[in-house]
Every structure is written in structure tokens, then in C-alpha cells.
């Protein structure tokens, strides 16, 4: 086994282990084990810094199935591909070869010559379901959510779209009581708290 394979394998184990972790595992820097560099804030860019346009299109198509547009925006609309691209230039750089290899492997599962991005939504979902236990998919899933919900300075979560999907106002960072339905009800009966 080459050293590349070994590091890839250990990474696969690591990223797989991130999924379904209990709270104390989350405190631990799973991703930090593959990263050192600090992330620099950048304006969102239409072009890519690391990826070429074709592979960016393929990654984006996968991410758009992980968080699809419904009646609210999905990963594509939130510019998550720019987060991914930016991350490859910074903290996520060590995973680029593995994710590129994973993309190739996924593509190799399509026998009629089409690219992943050319498949129908249903075909894309079926292929991803076949691959959802791989380290490739686990990591890309984490990166998709990170790009959807991470701070906008990392390149994704355009205009705070991710937070809006959860019902948060992306422009508000401080709140006052009452916060929700049940405390409002409680305070009606107990005005002194």
C-alpha cells in the first residue's frame, strides 16, 4: 500500500467517524486533524481559485442533491461550491486529492458516457445513495452543510440563506425575551418570570 493510500484510508476512517458522533466527539476537532491553515476571509468570487470550472460543476451538482432547492434555496443557490473551492485553498487543502479521486470513482459508476451533472435528479440521487457510506460522500456532505451554514466569509451561505432556511434572521445576532411560543405563553401567566 502506498503512503498515499494509507493516508487516504486513514482519512476515510476519520471522515466516516465524524458521522453520527455523539456530542463529546463533536467538541473534538475532527476536521482539524486534516487541517492547519487558518481560513482567510474573502469576497465571494464568480470564478474558482482551486477547482476548474468543469469539476466545480460536478461537485456542485452533488452538493445540490445533498441540500436541494425546495421551496427554499439549496446548496447551489447558496453558493456552497465557492465555499468548497475556497476551503481547498485553505484549511481543507489536504482533502482535495481524495475528493478528486472520489469524484472520478463516482463518475466511473456511470457507464453511458454522461457526466454526473447530466443525469436526472432521480438518477443522481440513486447513484449517491449507492455511495453514501463512502468517506468521499461523508466528507462532501459535511462540507456541503459547512458551506450552507458556515459564516459567509468562507464563501458559501450566500446572504445568510442557510440560516434563513432554519428560520433565523441572518442579520440579527442578539435577541430579547420572549424567544418562542412556550415562553411567551408562560410569561402571560407568570409576568414576573
Amino acid at each position: 500500500m502506498s503512503s498515499h493510500d494509507q493516508s487516504r484510508r486513514s482519512f476515510l476512517q476519520q471522515s466516516a467517524g465524524l458521522v453520527g458522533a455523539s456530542w463529546v466527539k463533536v467538541v473534538l476537532p475532527g476536521m482539524a486533524a486534516i487541517s492547519q491553515a487558518a481560513c482567510s476571509a474573502k469576497e465571494e468570487q464568480a470564478s474558482y481559485t482551486i477547482l476548474d470550472a468543469a469539476e466545480a460543476g460536478e461537485f456542485e451538482s452533488i452538493m445540490a442533491r445533498i441540500i436541494p432547492a425546495t421551496d427554499t434555496p439549496g446548496a447551489r443557490e447558496a453558493g456552497v461550491i465557492h465555499f468548497l473551492d475556497q476551503s481547498f485553498g485553505t484549511f481543507n487543502a489536504p482533502t482535495l486529492p481524495m475528493l478528486r479521486a472520489g469524484l472520478e470513482e463516482l463518475q466511473s459508476g456511470i457507464t453511458d458516457g454522461r457526466m454526473f451533472s447530466e443525469l436526472s435528479d432521480a438518477e443522481q440521487d440513486a447513484l449517491l445513495e449507492e455511495n453514501q457510506d463512502t468517506g468521499f460522500f461523508s466528507l462532501l456532505r459535511i462540507m456541503t452543510f459547512a458551506g450552507f451554514f458556515g459564516m459567509t466569509e468562507y464563501g458559501g451561505n450566500k446572504d445568510g440563506m442557510g440560516w434563513s432556511v432554519l428560520g433565523m434572521d441572518p442579520h440579527v445576532h442578539a435577541y430579547s425575551s420572549p424567544f418562542g411560543f412556550y415562553d411567551a405563553e408562560y410569561l402571560k401567566e407568570n409576568p414576573n418570570g
Binding site: P29, A32, Q132, A146, Y182, Y186
Partner: protein
């Protein structure tokens, strides 16, 4: 305000304090404001309040506070001393490396211990296979310092059903109730229980010149961007620095405490941020590096202060468990502090339950209530964790979910300990921390009992859907307790009741390692009260020429 001094490492200062967390920050403030020259050596960076943001990628994924894990620390875990300890993906002993320590990132639930915690061994009797003993101090001896924590650090709260006696009222009213708290009140009262206001080391009003909480929701695992959380960083370090007698020296990783032939410590050796060896001479040393780092440093300093063999033993993590529920209407637990109500009805151990243990159940959004962590780890279980259905599910439940979090006892045992790994080293070349831990069966039974009670409260409050994992064995912890315990007998404890090493007269140890028993699972207030008390004892001894 006096200038912050910079001491020459070759000059002897009065005190070196190792660690700037819950205990170290308080002791540094108390000693320096009393006129003693004090150098604080902190392995983490000096991050200040205005730097803190809501950046989940920085703080969670990239390990800004907690470091890069075993790759850097070499930390290992095993559940039996006959097994070889393994490096996992994460450190089994978790703590923040930053000025202020883990008090910067805690969720700030402040529980006093009750009088029974101090003599519980006498009350409930011996427990086989454990080192369960009474404390050498009483609640009454510590009570003034609990009040001092409330007033000097800043604690918001209100007296409750199960409160122990107090000499002073809370300095400020509680933080506003949130929906999880309101639901706990409803569910607990329906079951005949007594929900109390949760006290927080978070300011509800301007206090000691500090700003109050903005209810931003980013408490647990984040630093407070307005300094409303009463960390050592916000409440103590600025006062220490303003004294003109205290230098905070960040990015200073201590690797040895040097003892002279007379049996006294004289110097603390550390690596500066560039990896160069440095030394700071001092008349006395206060070790407050936390319940994993303190024993590691003693063991690696030629078994310093360990004639008892108790250094590193009796590690207690506190057992934790919890259940979760989704409700019909919005709770919006991303707003406000974590947990505003708590049930303490099961605080005391009760032999009728068939096991030792007690604890509290608090109502909170959950540990993962920030958007990214929620989407990855906090959401209700589902067969598929991506795609349109998952997205719609988290979009619905994010604002409607809460948890009942159990914080509970751990019994002190020899088999649970911190030792040095025989071969692994950390990035500095120090022998790595090896954690050996297996909960006492009663710890798990008790946690499960409390989890079931929390589940009943959720049901009684009208949860639409609930779920939980069985209470299981600990494989790591953020509460690092008991590893240099205090006691009157030098053969079965590391420090005396005034935190002085039984073996080394000018070495004091105060942090989570000092605890004799585990508390009911929220230990920081007790660590802070012990620190204020230890500082008083140290100041008296120093002034009397008795160090």
C-alpha cells in the same frame, strides 16, 4: 491602571501560576491584587473578548480552542489497564487552550454543591471498589466562597426548591426563561417535581463594569463576544493585569517543575511559542493546569508531590445522558442561554433506587443548537441524512427541538486515572496523557435513571416526538476531576485542605483535580469557590512567612 509588568525569567517572582482557567485566573487575580508578583503561564493563545465570533467552522471544525487532537497531543484512551491505550480521532481529555481556559467556552451553569456532598460517604456508607470518602472541609467552610464567586465573577439566578443555605442573595436576577424552560416547568409540575431557576455565570445586568448578555445563543463551546459570560478571561484576568503585579504569559507550555535538594520547588520550565526552553524562577508555585494536565506535569516532573501515589488517580468525568424532543410550536432555542430551568429533585442519592448517585436534569435546546452542528449532529435521527426530506426535517425541527440534559455523579476509583504514556509524546516531546476510564456501574444506572425522568418530563410537556441513546460508558470528558485530591491524610491524598502539597511546602495545587467527589455534574462553580478559598489560604501563609 498600572502598567502590566513583564518579569525577567531569571528573577524570582513571588508566584508562578500554571494555567489561567477557572482556578488559575482567580488565584492570579487574588495574589496579584494582594501585592504579590505573579506570572501566569498559559499554554494557549491570548484571545480577547472582541475576537470572539459565531464562527462554527473556526471553533468546531478547525479546533481553534481545543487543538488538533491526538495528532498533536498523542493522547490515548483505554477502559482497562490491561489493555493497550489507543489514539482515537479525538482527545479523551477535552479542554480549551486559551487564556481563561475552558471557562471561556463553558455554558456557565453554576450549581453550588450541597452540604451532603461534603460528607456523603458518612451518610450513605462505604462503596466497595471505590475511594469514596468525605471531604476535609464542610459546606459551611466553602459557603462564603460560593457567595464570593456569585458576586466577584457575576452569577445570575434566584433561590429555588433545593438551594443550600446562602449568606448573600444572588447579585442579579436570573436570565429570561426560554421555551425549553417553560416546557420543563409544565412537564415537571405535572409530575409533582420542582423545577428551579438555573443559575448562570452570565450577567443579566451590568455588573462590575461588564456588559450583560445579548441572548445571542452562542454560549456553549464559544467565547462570549461581549464578555457577559463570567469566565476567568472576562472577570479576573483584566483585574489581575490592572494590579500592576501580574504578567499573563500566553503560549507557554510548562514541561517541568524543578525541585531543589531541600524539597522545595524553585523554577518552572516551559516552552515558549517558538519552542525555546525557558524557565521562570519563583518563591512558590500554584498548579492550576486542569485535572489532566496537572497530574501529567507532576508525574513528568520526577513524580513530584506524589509520595501517596494518588497523583492521577480517581479521575471523574461526571456521567452525562439526555433525551430529546420536538414540539408542535417554535421554541427557538438558538436564542438565549443554554438551560433556564433545572430539576434537582433527584440530587440526593437514595438507596431505594438500588444504586448510588444523584444529579440534575436541565432543559435546553441541546448541545448542538448552532446551525452547522445541528445539521450534522443535533437533528432527530433519520434514515437518510441528506436530500430534500432531511433538509425539510431540519428546517422544521431546528426551531422546535429541545433536550433534557442529565449531569450526574461519578465515583472515584483507582482504575480511572491519568498516567504517562510509555512511548507516545505530544508535539512538544512531552510524554502523552494516557486516560484509563470505565464508569462505575452505579454511575451509568444513575445516569439512565435520570435520563428516564427527563424523558417523562418531555412526555408530560407534550412532546410530539422524542428520542435518546441509552446512557453508556464514558470514553472521554470535559470535566476532569479528582486526580490530585485534597485530604487530611498524606497517604491517601495529594494536597491538604488548604491546597498545599503534602510533600512540597511551596507547591499548591488547585483546579478540578482537587475535588474529592464529583459534584452532581456542574463542577466549575465549586472549582472557582475552591480557588478563592485557596488564594485566601495562600495569601495568609505568604504574609505570615509560612511558605
Amino acid at each position: 491602571m498600572a502598567d502590566t509588568p513583564v518579569f525577567n525569567t531569571r528573577d524570582e517572582v513571588d508566584f508562578v501560576v500554571i494555567g489561567s482557567g477557572a482556578a488559575g485566573g482567580i488565584i492570579a487575580k487574588e495574589l496579584s491584587t494582594a501585592g504579590f508578583s505573579t506570572v501566569v503561564l498559559e499554554q494557549g493563545k491570548y484571545r480577547k473578548t472582541p475576537e470572539f465570533t459565531h464562527d462554527e467552522i473556526k471553533y468546531f471544525l478547525n479546533g481553534e480552542f481545543f487543538g488538533a487532537g491526538p495528532r498533536e497531543t498523542g493522547m490515548t484512551f483505554r477502559d482497562d489497564e490491561n489493555k493497550e491505550a489507543q489514539m482515537g480521532q479525538r482527545d479523551p481529555a477535552v479542554y480549551a487552550r486559551t487564556v481563561g481556559g475552558s471557562s471561556v467556552v463553558f455554558s456557565a451553569h453554576f450549581w453550588r454543591m450541597r452540604p451532603v456532598d461534603f460528607n456523603e460517604r458518612s451518610v450513605v456508607g462505604a462503596i466497595d471498589g471505590t475511594n469514596f470518602v468525605d471531604w476535609p472541609i464542610t459546606y459551611d467552610e466553602l459557603e462564603p466562597y460560593y457567595s464570593k464567586v456569585e458576586w466577584d465573577m457575576g452569577v445570575s439566578g434566584a433561590p429555588g426548591f433545593s438551594d443550600p443555605p446562602r449568606s448573600k442573595p444572588f447579585p442579579m436576577p436570573p436570565l429570561p426563561i426560554n421555551s425549553s424552560g417553560a416546557l420543563m416547568v409544565k412537564g415537571a409540575k405535572a409530575l409533582g417535581l420542582h423545577p428551579d431557576v438555573q443559575a448562570h455565570a452570565i450577567l443579566s445586568q451590568v455588573h462590575n463594569g461588564r456588559a450583560p448578555c445579548l441572548s445571542c445563543g452562542f454560549c456553549a463551546f464559544f467565547g462570549c463576544e461581549v464578555g457577559a459570560k463570567s469566565s476567568s478571561l472576562a472577570a479576573m484576568i483584566p483585574v489581575a493585569e490592572a494590579s500592576g503585579n501580574c504578567e499573563i504569559r500566553p503560549e507557554s507550555t510548562v514541561f517541568q517543575i524543578v525541585k531543589n535538594p531541600d524539597g522545595r520547588v524553585t523554577e518552572v520550565l516551559y516552552y515558549d511559542k517558538d519552542g525555546n526552553e525557558q524557565g521562570q524562577r519563583a518563591k512558590a508555585v500554584v498548579l492550576s493546569a486542569n485535572g489532566a494536565e496537572s497530574p501529567r506535569l507532576l508525574l513528568d516532573s520526577d513524580n513530584l508531590a506524589n509520595s501517596s501515589g494518588y497523583v492521577g488517580r480517581n479521575l471523574m468525568f461526571n456521567a452525562h445522558a439526555g433525551s430529546n424532543g420536538v414540539f408542535e410550536h417554535e421554541l427557538n432555542e438558538y436564542k438565549g442561554v443554554q438551560a433556564t430551568r433545572v430539576v434537582m429533585d433527584f440530587y440526593n442519592s437514595d438507596q431505594k433506587r438500588g444504586f448510588y448517585g444523584g444529579g440534575g436534569i436541565d432543559a435546553r435546546g441541546g448541545l448542538m443548537i448552532t446551525p452547522l452542528m445541528y445539521s450534522l449532529f443535533g437533528a432527530p435521527p433519520s434514515e437518510k441524512n441528506w436530500g430534500a426530506e432531511y433538509k425539510e426535517m431540519i428546517a422544521h425541527s431546528f426551531s422546535r427541538q429541545m433536550g433534557m440534559m442529565v449531569s450526574a455523579t461519578s465515583l472515584p476509583m483507582d482504575r480511572n486515572n491519568i498516567t504517562l504514556h510509555p512511548t507516545n509524546t505530544d508535539k512538544w516531546g512531552r510524554p502523552s496523557i494516557r486516560v484509563t476510564y470505565k464508569d462505575h456501574p452505579d454511575d451509568i444506572k444513575n445516569a439512565q435513571f435520570l435520563q428516564d425522568k427527563g424523558q417523562e418530563i418531555l412526555d408530560a410537556a407534550g412532546a410530539v416526538r422524542t428520542w435518546s441513546q441509552p446512557a453508556g460508558p464514558s470514553t472521554g470528558g470535559v470535566h476532569l476531576l479528582g486526580t490530585c485530591r485534597m485530604g487530611d491524610d498524606p497517604e491517601t491524598s495529594v494536597i491538604d485542605k488548604n491546597h498545599r502539597s503534602h510533600d512540597v511546602p511551596n507547591l499548591f495545587i488547585c483546579d478540578g483535580s482537587s475535588l474529592v467527589t464529583s459534584t452532581r455534574g456542574q463542577p466549575t462553580m465549586t472549582i472557582m469557590a475552591l480557588a478563592f478559598r485557596a488564594a485566601d489560604q495562600i495569601k495568609s501563609a505568604a504574609s505570615a512567612g509560612n511558605i
